[in-house]
């Protein structure tokens, strides 16, 4: 449904292609920057999770700040590596990926966090009458998740998964639709809506409910750029924030734009997805500090959790993980 089937392999191939790209050189991020061009690599197809970016591109949010935006990447793109290697200035990743990348010796920082509450969840059939994530795990059955995701490690540590058969998520909801005891990972903006539209009765438990809540759809860049070109980064973030404000207020035009680029998701799913994600993006914190703002407490907590799970080898330095240019003490969100 949402995610195209060969994407895992594509991810693997992406690394190889990146080697080739790095080896061949070519136009690097620095020359583009001089021309006012700026590139951001996405980690998925155009979907509501990138709504603000496409809204900012559609309106004059980027152009009036002198940016000529290029949106690149897609499913399987090794975004962190692309940003680390300077192939693109900005990329989209999850907060846990930022900490992992830093732990592996890179200087990746987060500058904008789209989702205050992580939009990933576990989807089950509502007919099973399950009430919570521990219920899901106690009930058993098959659980399809992408191998190696941090939250699975968190579940393994804090819940008893002995009854679950854990299998790789193949980016298709077909197995879920045909198996009443199946549970699978979802983005609340996509799979549950697709499942409902295909006649299923899905119920989603957000991963955040378990106490593991990394910021998601985080805009990343290198620490060197965030420090050395802080004005440019702040301008980029301001443009993006303006786009998100517009998208939250009226997603229809950006949705049409994304729908033209991603034919697999229909207009109604775009509309419902944009609606479903609103509270995850603009909560009390974001209203006060600005959309995309981040807090040291959240980064500290995530660093401790990842360390506890053995996913990072060194203690995290949370204050170095993010630079939320223009958010701290910045303009509060406009009233609707």
């Amino acid at each position: 449904m949402k995610r195209f089937d060969a994407s895992k392999i594509a991810r693997t191939l992406g690394i190889i292609m990146l080697f080739a790209a790095v080896a061949c050189g070519g136009e690097d991020a620095a020359t583009r920057a001089a021309a006012g061009k700026v590139a951001i690599a996405l980690n998925w197809k155009p979907e509501p999770e990138f709504g603000g970016l496409y809204e900012a591109q559609r309106t004059d949010a980027f152009t009036k700040r002198g940016f000529d935006l290029e949106i690149t990447g897609g499913p399987g793109a090794p975004v962190v590596q692309m940003v680390d290697a300077g192939k693109v200035e900005f990329g989209i990743a999850a907060a846990d990926e930022v900490l992992l990348a830093r732990d592996r010796g890179t200087d990746i920082v987060a500058v904008f966090a789209t989702y205050q509450t992580n939009p990933q969840g576990i989807m089950v059939h509502a007919s099973r009458g399950l009430q919570s994530l521990p219920d899901v795990f106690a009930a058993g059955g098959t659980l399809a998740v992408e191998p190696g995701v941090a939250y699975l490690k968190f579940f393994e540590k804090h819940f008893d998964l002995a009854k679950m058969k854990i299998v790789p998520y193949g980016y298709s909801i077909a197995p879920f639709l045909s198996d009443k005891d199946m549970a699978q990972q979802v983005f609340v903006t996509a799979e549950p809506i697709a499942a409902r539209r295909q006649g299923a009765d899905p119920q989603v438990f957000l991963i955040a409910e378990s106490g593991f809540n990394p910021y998601a759809a985080v805009v990343i860049t290198t620490g060197a750029r965030a420090r050395g070109e802080s004005k440019r980064v702040a301008d980029f973030v301001a443009a993006l924030r303006e786009g998100w404000r517009g998208y939250l207020d009226d997603p229809s035009q950006a949705n049409a734009r994304m729908g033209a680029l991603n034919k697999e998701m229909d207009g109604e799913t775009f509309r419902l997805g944009a609606e479903a994600q609103k509270p995850l993006i603009e909560d009390a914190f974001a209203r006060q500090r600005g959309i995309g703002a981040m807090s040291l407490e959240r980064w500290t907590q995530l660093g401790e959790q990842l360390r506890e799970l053995g996913l990072i080898d060194h203690p995290a330095q949370p204050e170095q993980c993010f630079a939320d240019a223009g958010a701290t003490g910045g303009a509060p969100a406009q009233s609707r």
Partner: protein
């Protein structure tokens, strides 16, 4: 014997040491990010540090590969024998055998899960699908290349079809069958890893996990384990070939 050891082992060992050292120093000198390309020493460290993950995964993948390969040998030989019985049968079915070889396993892998469910069966099926064709093609070539004079001789003495197959065609085709197996062994490993990407388990999942956790060194370590598995199977086929052919076939005689 001792000289042969030096001749056979020293050149590849020297290549290994030189390329590893060059990679180690080259990567360090160029300052390449460990996320992009880890040094050989980092890969070795990851292999040791994660051996409790890698070795059981290797064992699981090896099981699937061996099962898939065994199926390929059995089915591949039977199909080749069936195709060799008559020109018409061969003409009718051989093009389809080629067609199935061309179907990319990566594209049909997600279907395997729907057909066979998650787990070992899908992985074995993937290993089988990619490794059966070289067995069919090479065995068939061998079966069809039997010296016509020898075929006439068997007919002259009134040998049954079974006897001709067992005593003439199969021994004649054996070197070809083994060539097919050498190719199939490497392909079966590839098939199994692709199968594990969708069906779960083994080195395939270790690769996916390590990718997601940005442990590029562990990705390389897992890939090397898979390569070692392919190499081990290749060596096993070679040993079988040596053992089976040394007494009569020029390919292995006097070596």
């Amino acid at each position: 014997m001792k000289r042969r050891f030096v001749e056979n082992v020293l050149p590849p060992a020297a290549t290994f040491v030189l390329t590893t050292a060059a990679a180690e120093f080259g990567i360090r000198a160029a300052g390449i990010s460990p996320l992009l390309l880890p040094t050989p020493s980092a890969v070795a460290r990851a292999a040791l540090q994660h051996s409790s993950t890698l070795l059981p995964a290797l064992a699981m993948t090896a099981q699937a590969v061996v099962a898939g390969l065994a199926l390929s040998i059995a089915v591949g030989l039977l199909v080749a024998i069936a195709l060799s019985t008559s020109r018409w049968v061969e003409r009718a079915f051989y093009p389809y055998a080629i067609f199935f070889q061309i179907v990319p396993i990566v594209a049909i892998a997600p279907l395997l899960v729907i057909w066979f469910g998650y787990g070992m069966r899908s992985v074995v099926a993937a290993a089988f699908i990619v490794s059966v064709f070289p067995v069919i093609a090479n065995s068939l070539a061998g079966l069809l290349s039997v010296d016509p004079a020898l075929g006439d001789l068997f007919r002259l003495y009134g040998a049954s079809r079974a006897a001709t197959l067992w005593k003439l065609s199969l021994p004649w085709a054996l070197p070809n069958v083994l060539t097919g197996l050498r190719i199939a062994a490497g392909l079966a490993v590839i098939g199994a890893i692709v199968g594990e990407f969708v069906g779960g388990g083994g080195l395939g999942v270790v690769v996916l996990e390590a990718m997601r956790q940005q442990r590029t060194d562990l990705v390389f370590a897992a890939v090397l384990h898979a390569a070692a598995l392919g190499l081990g199977l290749f060596a096993a086929v070679n040993a079988t070939s040596h053992f089976a052919l040394r007494r009569w076939h020029s390919q292995e005689k006097d070596t």
